[in-house]
């Protein structure tokens, strides 16, 4: 499979770097609002992705990575929240070792996720790629792979440089 060449820091404009960093910073801004409802982080990430994906492949990659990496964690946080509420308000649900295990896992995953978010934001601002485990590969594959439509665009391009 062919992939587009990766942009290097010197090829990127300041705006691209800022937009790429913004994908991760968005998460921190949204977390303040979204803490009680984890889904708000996800909504923010989705909006950011659709607004910025056409800026450049570099920004597209970072926005996509920030978005898809937040999906499983948001779901897990949602399950944890639902679980906790059921324990508080339902007689049939009790705090158990399984719940404590889940809670501990959530705490570690969230902390790791925020640390990774800061690292990714800093790298993105410097115009560098930063790959999360799995989500990085997936985003790279989706954004940088050479598609048929890419070559068709080239073929159908009308404007060409003059022959000098």
């Amino acid at each position: 499979m062919n992939y587009h060449e990766l942009p290097q820091p010197e090829d990127l404009s300041k705006k691209e770097k800022e937009d790429a960093m913004g994908a991760y910073m968005m998460m921190f801004a949204a977390v303040a609002v979204g803490l009680p409802l984890p889904i708000i982080n996800l909504i923010a990430a989705v909006i950011y992705y659709f607004v910025n994906r056409n800026v450049s492949r570099f920004v597209h990659f970072h926005a996509l990575q920030a978005l898809i990496s937040s999906i499983p964690l948001t779901l897990m946080n949602g399950v944890g929240l639902f679980w906790g509420i059921r324990i508080l308000f339902s007689e049939d649900w009790h705090v158990s070792q399984v719940f404590y295990g889940y809670l501990g896992t959530l705490i570690i995953l969230n902390i790791s996720y925020y640390i990774m978010g800061i690292l990714a934001a800093v790298k993105a601002y410097k115009g560098r790629m930063f790959y999360y485990w799995f989500f990085g590969q997936l985003s790279y594959h989706y954004v940088f792979q050479v598609r048929e439509t890419d070559t068709m665009e080239k073929k159908s391009s009308v404007n060409r440089p003059p022959q000098l």
């Binding site: 009790h94 295990g101 501990g104 995953l109 485990w133 799995f134 590969q137 594959h141």
Partner: protein, 277 residues
């Protein structure tokens, strides 16, 4: 077709599952705050003695029913159940209280009380055995202490069992008789009772038949008894009892008791009502 990132995805999933397992086992190492395990069986028995002797039996309204027929019947039922309970740390004491209420309750330390009103509603000794097995279940699963710890907190209970605050005893007694077990505890006690009935060669369906009767009475009675009020969702409990499959070697052995006669002695005018000192 190669799936992008599959290897990393599997590793990530492995990390999440491992984290879960680590925290699962780590959480088991910490003694839980407000855990029943912090109150020993000896302390629970002491608390039970204090509650029964100093509060319940000293209450002028408390009347323990004693008559030869009833006592003998209770002994037979109790013996059958306790012989099959397996290893237990409690010295069970089962007594009948005179009251028209259809109720039974368990005090800490294996002290079980059945109201005469409940016995009057049973059609067979097996039905009473089912109720007793259920109450024994609450004791064995330590639900009573658990409820006290939840309602009053471990500190208050400690102060009582270590001999301090006797003034709190009436409050504890009230907590036991006025608060409810949750559904999971009721289910645990039911499951324990069904197993115990089966092991004791008593038909577990007796439990369903008694619940059904209680259900029928519920609508007609004004003084909705605690047994009903604290045992929500009777339908699922009846279903649970009916669907219970006893062990293959189960063989029903009916109690050789004249149950009508036992019930007569309860309602008879000449019942000796004494107050235990």
């Amino acid at each position: 077709m190669k799936i992008v990132g599959l290897k990393q995805l599997l590793i990530l999933a492995g990390v999440v599952v491992s984290l879960w397992l680590v925290f699962y086992f780590v959480s088991a190492q910490f003694p839980k705050e407000n855990s029943v395990e912090l109150i020993s069986i000896e302390q629970e028995e002491k608390l039970g003695r204090l509650l029964v002797d100093d509060v319940l039996l000293k209450d002028p309204k408390t009347k323990i029913l004693n008559n030869e027929t009833l006592d003998s019947a209770m002994r037979i039922i109790q013996k059958r159940l306790l012989n099959n309970i397996g290893p237990t740390e409690y010295q069970y004491s089962i007594r009948v209280l005179e009251s028209s209420e259809i109720n039974a309750f368990t005090m800490p330390g294996g002290n079980i009380f059945v109201f005469s009103g409940l016995i009057n509603q049973t059609e067979s000794p097996e039905e009473l055995a089912a109720v007793l097995a259920h109450e024994i279940g609450h004791a064995e699963k330590r639900h009573v202490v658990g409820r006290l710890v939840k309602e009053l907190g471990i500190t208050i209970l400690f102060s009582v069992v270590t001999g301090g605050d006797a003034v709190l005893l009436p409050e504890i007694s009230r907590t036991i008789t006025s608060t409810v077990f949750d559904r999971q505890q009721e289910k645990e006690a039911d499951d324990f009772a069904l197993d115990l009935l089966s092991k004791s060669n008593i038909n577990p369906k007796a439990m369903a038949s008694f619940f059904r009767k209680i259900d029928a009475i519920t609508g007609k009675m004004d003084n909705l008894s605690e047994l009903i009020a604290t045992h929500p969702n009777n339908n699922s409990r009846i279903k649970n009892a009916l669907e219970y499959k006893p062990a293959k070697e189960f063989k029903e052995i009916a109690f050789d008791l004249n149950w009508a006669r036992v019930k007569e002695t309860i309602s008879a005018e000449n019942t000796m009502v004494t107050k235990e000192e």
